[in-house]
Amino acid sequence: MAYSERTQAFVNLYAGIGVLEKYLEIDESARELAKQHNVAIRFLVKDGPDGVVDIKDGACKVYPYDEESKANIVLYFDSCKKFNRLVAGEDVMPIPLKGLFKVLKLMAKPDQWFNVLTGNMADLMRKTEFADEAEKKLSVTLAFYAMTLGAVALGNVDPIAQHAMRATVDGEVALGIRDVAYSTILKSGGKDGKFTAILAKSEKPRAIMEFADIDTAGGVINGTLDAMTAVSTGRLETKGHMLMLDNFNKLAAILPKYLS
């Protein structure tokens, strides 16, 4: 399946950066760092995503831009590739359409506030060796939420992944790591519909996929344990409308290309 810069840009914004919401919710040190500034950054990417990262009082929301959105920084990227390079940590200069001084203060250099916040999170999620169980739990939990957000972004925008989205019947797919973390993918609108990510436990699931523990979740998400083997060995419980999970698994198989 061909790699798409456009798909990458959506996954980067709504999953890669989008998981900040949970990072700040779970990790106290990250939350304290985030509290230093209240800022709403609009990332406007030509032929790509147009979304807002809204950090306020140590909490974060990432959502698509609309006329009601209020951003005090607007960054314009003339291509998806340029935005992706920025997210990958390369030295890329977007065009600040609004809030130039805030940009210079908060995110122009690698050691500035926003870059430190997102960099810490990315480092944590990329780790394969951990200082302790708590760090591993946090890393895998964030990767789990990023998987949910990434699957939704993929299904909504990627030409290949949209096959799985369209084929998914309406309703909620419940995802979880037992007693640790839960999320929901809501499909609505039938064949021409869309996915919505909800980073909370499903109340009315049509299909359920739950990892038995952190190690299983980590293994499946980072690709060292395949999902089918996890099912076969009882480490990944699946039940309900299995065709919904079959479609989710197709998204999960594509996702590592964009979320690594």
């Binding site: 399946m1 061909a2 799985a164 009315k204 699931p205 359920i208 395949d226 299995m242 065709l243 197709k250």
Partner: protein, 418 residues
């Protein structure tokens, strides 16, 4: 008392180390929708008639029949004797076993077609059917019907299937089941690029109530195919010999240009067949298509014995009667317990579903799991199969067990069944 599976689990742990998924494909816990896995066995140690025993010694009345191949009963003595006799004579040899001719003559006479081309699995012959259609018509596109399954070759898959290319999936259209008008419109607009219409005789998709063709559906599809120079391929791999010994196209009063058989063709011995009309014999002969074991003698001998037995008994009537008996028993229990059990499809291939508010199959999966743990092997996602060895006594035992299982499920959900 319900079953335990210690040896099954032990064996699965060994298998998972050396075999992808432990057991892959539709017999495995993942694709086989064994929910929860703790309710299911994974490995069989012996099977006879309609029963099988797992490696822990648990006995099951089996309504999956190997997902279809078991049509006469596991280890049918006449079929096995024919296979053993052929084994002693010749099996996989430099020249084709002579018994192939006997089998081809018997099969074409049985299903009223002019030729037979043998392979091993269902996917081998559906793929060949599409090759023949494309070569004969000179047109590229395939028309599928919603909820189709014609194997796992790339041309049957979606572009998001791992290992499948977008290009593999370009030459296709997909229509709704039982929607003749959609087919008519599609053929009128794109008939000059469509090679074939491929479909099972009725819609027996998974996780969905199975649906028979509407009155006149197949006759209209047949006429439309003929009018537009499009080959009609009936995929009879699952239904074959359970609706009609002459093939499901005849059951529904039409004649397919090409028809595929596998599963029940030799009662579990590995052989599949593409059968067709005379005008396509040259086309199939022109296509390079072969395999190391495709002309193996043993399955042909088993196939001869199987077809003879199916032809010489009221096989279709018996399987239908057993299906009706089990469905009636389950429906009676469900009614008594106020469980909304939906039964669909042909009686010999019945599909079960307990309806629920969210459409999530959770109650249904619980009931099926309770059945399996008590010795009735049915699944929660797929149609079932009856076979010639099934007796009224076994069916009645099934109903008793499944009814007890349903009572357990109901008692576990007072919030639903008040």
């Amino acid at each position: 008392m319900t079953y335990t599976y210690n040896k099954n689990v032990e064996l699965m742990m060994r298998a998972a180390k050396v075999v992808p998924n432990g057991v892959y494909g539709h017999l495995g816990p993942a694709e086989g929708c064994m929910i929860p896995m703790s309710a299911y066995p994974f490995f069989v140690s012996k099977a006879k008639g309609s029963e099988m025993w797992d490696v822990d010694g648990n006995r099951f009345i089996d309504y999956m029949c190997g997902y279809g191949p078991n049509i006469l009963g596991y280890c049918d003595p006449e079929v096995d004797a024919a296979a053993i006799d052929q084994m002693k004579k010749a099996n996989c040899t430099t020249l084709c076993a002579d018994v192939m001719v006997d089998f081809a003559e018997l099969l074409t006479d049985t299903v009223k077609k002019d030729w037979a081309f043998f392979c091993k699995n269902g996917g081998d012959v559906t793929s060949l059917a599409v090759l023949v259609a494309r070569f004969y018509t000179g047109k590229p596109k395939i028309v599928f019907v919603d909820n189709y399954y014609h194997g796992v070759a790339p041309w049957t898959q979606r572009p998001d299937t791992p290992g499948t290319l977008e290009d593999d999936c370009k030459n296709r259209y997909q229509v709704r089941w039982n929607d003749v008008e959609q087919v008519r419109q599609l053929f009128e607009e794109h008939g000059n690029e469509i090679a074939c219409f491929i479909s099972t005789p009725y819609m027996h998709g998974n996780f969905i109530d199975n649906e028979m063709p509407a009155e006149g559906y197949w006759q209209q599809i047949r006429d439309l195919c003929t009018k537009h120079g499009i080959l009609l391929i009936i995929d009879d791999i699952r239904c074959g010999f359970r609706l009609d010994t002459s093939g499901s196209d005849h059951y529904f009063g039409i004649e397919a240009d090409l028809i595929t058989f596998c599963k029940a063709l030799a009662n579990g011995y590995p052989v599949s067949a593409l059968c067709g009309k005379e005008f396509l014999k040259g086309a199939v002969a022109s296509i390079p298509y072969t395999g190391s074991y495709w002309l193996q003698g043993i399955p042909f001998a088993a196939g001869v014995a199987t077809l003879n037995k199916l032809r010489n008994t009221d096989s279709v009537g018996h399987m239908k009667a057993m299906g009706e008996r089990v469905c009636a028993g389950l429906a009676k229990t469900a009614k008594e317990l106020k469980v909304p059990l939906h039964i669909s499809g042909s009686p010999s291939m019945f599909y079960l579903r307990i309806a629920d508010e969210l459409g999530n199959f959770l109650l249904h999966q619980e009931w099926i799991a309770e059945c399996v743990k008590r010795g009735v092997f049915i699944t929660n996602h797929h149609n079932h199969f009856t076979n010639m060895s099934l007796t009224p006594e076994l069916v009645d035992e099934t109903i008793t067990i499944a009814s007890e299982a349903m009572e357990v499920m109901v008692k576990n959900h007072p919030e639903v069944f008040r």
